[in-house]
C-alpha cells in the first residue's frame, strides 16, 4: 500500500526540492549554531527561537516543575548533611558509583537542547540532523579510550590539577583556572538566556522571573549540597528525560504500527523536501566545516570543566571507565530516540495545521523552530504530557547550570584561592567558605548577565565556548598527560595561541562579524574554529616546549616518568575519602 502511494509522489517531488534545498541553505547558520549548543546548552539564542511570544501560564507544567524542585531541595537538604569536607563538596568525596556517575554524565550531555535542538534539526532537514547527532556522539568512546583513566588517576578536584601536575603551579594553574572560568561564564550566559526564553515560552513566566528562579535554585543546590546534590539533580533529570523521550517515542511509533518504514513513508509524503530528507543534504557538504565542527565538539566536550569534574567523583579508574560506558550507552540510546522523535514530528506535527501560525501547514511553527518535539508531545499526550516535558526541560537547564556553577566555584576556591594565592596553606574550612561565596557570586553574575543579554544574539558565545575549551584547555590537558616534553613555557604560549586564535576566528566568523557587527560577509568562512585554532595551539605548545632549554624545563620533563606511572596504575591517586 505504502509503496504504491509514495512512488508517484517521488516522481513529482523534483519541483519543490529546489525550493526546499534553498531554504535549507538559508537555515544553515542558525542550525549549525543551534547544533553546537546541543551538548549542554539550552538554546543557541533568542534569534533561534524565532521571536518567542510569552505564552499563557501553563499550570500543569508549573505544578510538575514545582514537584521536581521540592524533591531536589529535599535531596539538597540530605546532601548538605553529608557535605563536610572539601572533597565532599567538590567531588562528593569520590563516593559516587560508576553507574550513578554514568547517568550523571549522560544527564550533563542530554540537555533541553539535545531534545529540542537535534529533533528540530531532524524535523527541518531530515538525515542531516541525524549526521549531526552522530557527530555529537563519537567523542565519548574516544574520551574513554584516551582520557578517562588518566584523568581519574591524576586529578583531584579540577582540570587544573592535571594540567599543572608537574608544571609551574602558579602560572599554569592560574591559566587553566582562567580558561575554566571563561568557559563557565560564557556557558552560563548562554544557558541563562536560553532558560529565560524557553521558560517564557513554555511556562508563560516573565523572562526576568525565570532567570532569577534559575539563579536562586542553582546557588541553593551548589552552596548547600555541593557535588552530591548536583549529581543527584542530574541523575533524576536524566531519568525523567530518558523516560519522557522513550514514552513519547513509543506513542509516536504506535501511530504507525511500530513500523519505522511506515513512519518514514508518512514523513516523506509530508515534508516539503520529500524523499530527500532520507539522505544527506546540503548542510554538511563542505568537509572542512564538518571536520572542524566535529573536532570542536569532540575535544571541546573533553575539556569542558563541568564534564571533567565528573571524573573525580568516582573512587577509582575502574569506576571511571564504567561510568563512561554507562554514559555513552544512555547518550547513544537517547540520541537515536531523539532522531526518531524528529522523524515522528515531521510525520505528525508537520501535517497538523494547529501547530502552524495561521494554520498554514508548512509555514512558521508556533513558538519557533525549536518546538517540534513539544508540539509532538501535545499531539500525542495532550496538555499533561506537554506540561511534563516542559518541566523536564526546565529541570534540565537547572541541572546543567548547577554543574557549571560548581566547576566555576572550584576553579576560584581550589585553584586560585587555595593553591595560587594561599600557596596550599589555606585550611579546608577557609577553602570551603571561599567556594560557597564563589558560587553565590557566580549565581548573582549569571542572573545579571542573563538579564543584560536578553535581547542579544548570544549564539556566538557557543562557538566561543567550545573553541576556547578545545583550543586553550584541551591541548595543554592532553599534552600534559601524553607528552614528556611539555614545559611550563610551552603550555602557556600554546594555551594563549589557542585562546587568541579561537577568539579571533569566532569574531571574524558569520556569528559575530555578520550577525552582531553587521558586516556584509564573514572573513573567517567557517562556523567553528577548532580545526585551525586547536592545530595552532598544539603546534605552538610543541615548538615552544622543544625550544625551552631552561633548568626548570629539564626538571619538569624529568617529573614526567613518575606522573606516567601514576597515570597508568593509580598509585598515589586521590582516593575515596571520608566515606
Amino acid at each position: 500500500m505504502t509503496r504504491m502511494i509514495t512512488a508517484p509522489r517521488r516522481a513529482g517531488a523534483s519541483a519543490p526540492l529546489a525550493a526546499a534545498s534553498m531554504a535549507a541553505v538559508g537555515r544553515t547558520a542558525s542550525l549549525v549554531l543551534l547544533a553546537l549548543a546541543v551538548p549542554t546548552v539550552a538554546l543557541a539564542g533568542p534569534g533561534d527561537l524565532g521571536g518567542s511570544e510569552k505564552q499563557p501560564v501553563n499550570v500543569t507544567a508549573i505544578a510538575m516543575f514545582f514537584a521536581f524542585v521540592l524533591g531536589t531541595l529535599g535531596i539538597t537538604y540530605w546532601a548538605s548533611k553529608r557535605t563536610k569536607s572539601a572533597a565532599d563538596f567538590y567531588t562528593a568525596g569520590g563516593g559516587i558509583t560508576g553507574f550513578q556517575n554514568g547517568l550523571a554524565i549522560a544527564g550533563d550531555y542530554m540537555s533541553a537542547a539535545t531534545l529540542l535542538g537535534l529533533s528540530s534539526m531532524v524535523f527541518a532537514t531530515g538525515f542531516d540532523g541525524f549526521i549531526y547527532t552522530i557527530s555529537f556522539f563519537v567523542g565519548w568512546p574516544i574520551i574513554l579510550f584516551l582520557l578517562a583513566e588518566r584523568l581519574r588517576n591524576l586529578g583531584r578536584y579540577t582540570f587544573a590539577d592535571i594540567a599543572s601536575y608537574r608544571l609551574d603551579q602558579s602560572k599554569v594553574r592560574t591559566f587553566a583556572a582562567m580558561g575554566s572560568l571563561t568557559v563557565v561564564c560564557f556557558y552560563l550566559i548562554v544557558q541563562m538566556v536560553g532558560a529565560g526564553q524557553l521558560i517564557k515560552l513554555l511556562f508563560g513566566l516573565d523572562y526576568a522571573v525565570a532567570v532569577i528562579i534559575v539563579g536562586v535554585l542553582m546557588v541553593v543546590y551548589v552552596t548547600f549540597g555541593g557535588m552530591i546534590a548536583t549529581t543527584w539533580v542530574q541523575i533524576i533529570k536524566a531519568v525523567l528525560l530518558l523516560g519522557g523521550g522513550v514514552l513519547l517515542c513509543a506513542l509516536a511509533l504506535s501511530k504507525f504500527g511500530f513500523s519505522l518504514e511506515a513512519m518514514a513513508a508518512k514523513a516523506v509524503s509530508t515534508h516539503k523536501a520529500g524523499v530527500k530528507i532520507m539522505g544527506p543534504g546540503t548542510l554538511l557538504a563542505d568537509p572542512v566545516s564538518a571536520v572542524s565542527l566535529s573536532l570542536g565538539l569532540v575535544f571541546g566536550t573533553a575539556a569542558l570543566p563541568h564534564i571533567l569534574m565528573r571524573f573525580f567523583t568516582v573512587p577509582n579508574a575502574k569506576e571511571a571507565r564504567k561510568s563512561v560506558f554507562v554514559a555513552s550507552g544512555f547518550i547513544g540510546f537517547f540520541f537515536l530516540v531523539v532522531c526518531i522523535l524528529g522523524l515522528a514530528a515531521v510525520s505528525i506535527v508537520g501535517a497538523d495545521p494547529q501547530f502552524f501560525e495561521g494554520g498554514k501547514v508548512g509555514g512558521k511553527l508556533l513558538g519557533g523552530g525549536n518546538m517540534p518535539v513539544m508540539h509532538l508531545a501535545k499531539a500525542l499526550g495532550g496538555d499533561i504530557f506537554l506540561g511534563f516535558l516542559s518541566a523536564v526541560a526546565f529541570a534540565t537547564i537547572l541541572a546543567v547550570v548547577s554543574g557549571l556553577a560548581l566547576a566555576g566555584a572550584s576553579a576560584i576556591a581550589h585553584d586560585i584561592y587555595a593553591r595560587v594565592i594561599r600557596k596550599g596553606h589555606a585550611t579546608e574550612a577557609e577553602e570551603m567558605r571561599v567556594s560557597k561565596l564563589a558560587s553565590l557570586v557566580l549565581g548573582v553574575v549569571a542572573v545579571i548577565l542573563g538579564i543584560m543579554f536578553e535581547k542579544q544574539n548570544v549564539a556566538f558565545l557557543v562557538g566561543l565556548t567550545f573553541g576556547i575549551a578545545a583550543s586553550a584547555n584541551f591541548p595543554v590537558l592532553f599534552l600534559s598527560m601524553y607528552w614528556k616534553g611539555l614545559t611550563t613555557r610551552g603550555a602557556l604560549w600554546g594555551g594563549i595561541a589557542g585562546l587568541v586564535s579561537a577568539v579571533t576566528c569566532v569574531v571574524l566568523s558569520k556569528a559575530v562579524w555578520v550577525v552582531v557587527l553587521n558586516n556584509p560577509a564573514p572573513i573567517f568562512p567557517y562556523e567553528h574554529p577548532a580545526l585551525f585554532s586547536m592545530t595552532l595551539a598544539f603546534l605552538v605548545t610543541i615548538v615552544v616546549s622543544k625550544l625551552d632549554g631552561s633548568e626548570t624545563a629539564k626538571a619538569e620533563r624529568a617529573l614526567f616518568e613518575d606522573q606516567y606511572v601514576r597515570a597508568q596504575t593509580g598509585i598515589g591517586a586521590a582516593s575515596a575519602s571520608n566515606h
Binding site: F145, L146, F325
Partner: protein, 104 residues
C-alpha cells in the same frame, strides 16, 4: 619509602610494561576504528552522498544511510563495552598485581 622510589620500583616491574603495552594497544586500535568509521562516514557524506541515499530495498523509504548511521553509534558504544571489559578485567588484575608487588 618516598613516592619517587615507589614509582621507580614500578618501572622495574615487567608486569607494568606488559600492562601499559596491552592497554595502550587496545586503546589505540579501538580509537582508530571509531574515528576511522566516523570520518569515512563524513567523507561519504561529503563526496558520495548518493551511496547513503540508496533505498534499503526497492520502494522503501528508509535509506542505506539510516542503518549505517545507527550502526556507528551502536558499534562505537559496544567498543566502549569491549574496552571496559578488558581494562576492568584482565588489565585491572595485572594492575593490582603490580601495585601489590611494589607496595609489599
Amino acid at each position: 619509602m618516598s613516592d619517587s622510589a615507589t614509582y621507580e620500583r614500578v618501572r622495574q616491574n615487567p608486569k607494568f610494561h606488559e600492562l601499559v603495552k596491552k592497554r595502550t594497544r587496545l586503546a589505540v586500535i579501538l580509537s582508530v576504528i571509531v574515528l576511522g568509521a566516523y570520518y569515512c562516514f563524513m567523507m561519504i557524506v561529503a563526496f558520495a552522498p548518493d551511496v547513503l541515499r540508496t533505498p534499503l530495498s526497492q520502494g522503501s523509504n528508509l535509506t542505506v544511510g539510516v542503518p549505517v548511521g545507527a550502526a556507528i553509534i551502536v558499534v562505537s558504544w559496544l567498543l566502549t563495552g569491549l574496552y571496559s571489559h578488558f581494562a576492568n578485567g584482565e588489565f585491572e588484575e595485572l594492575n593490582k598485581d603490580v601495585v601489590r608487588e611494589v607496595l609489599e
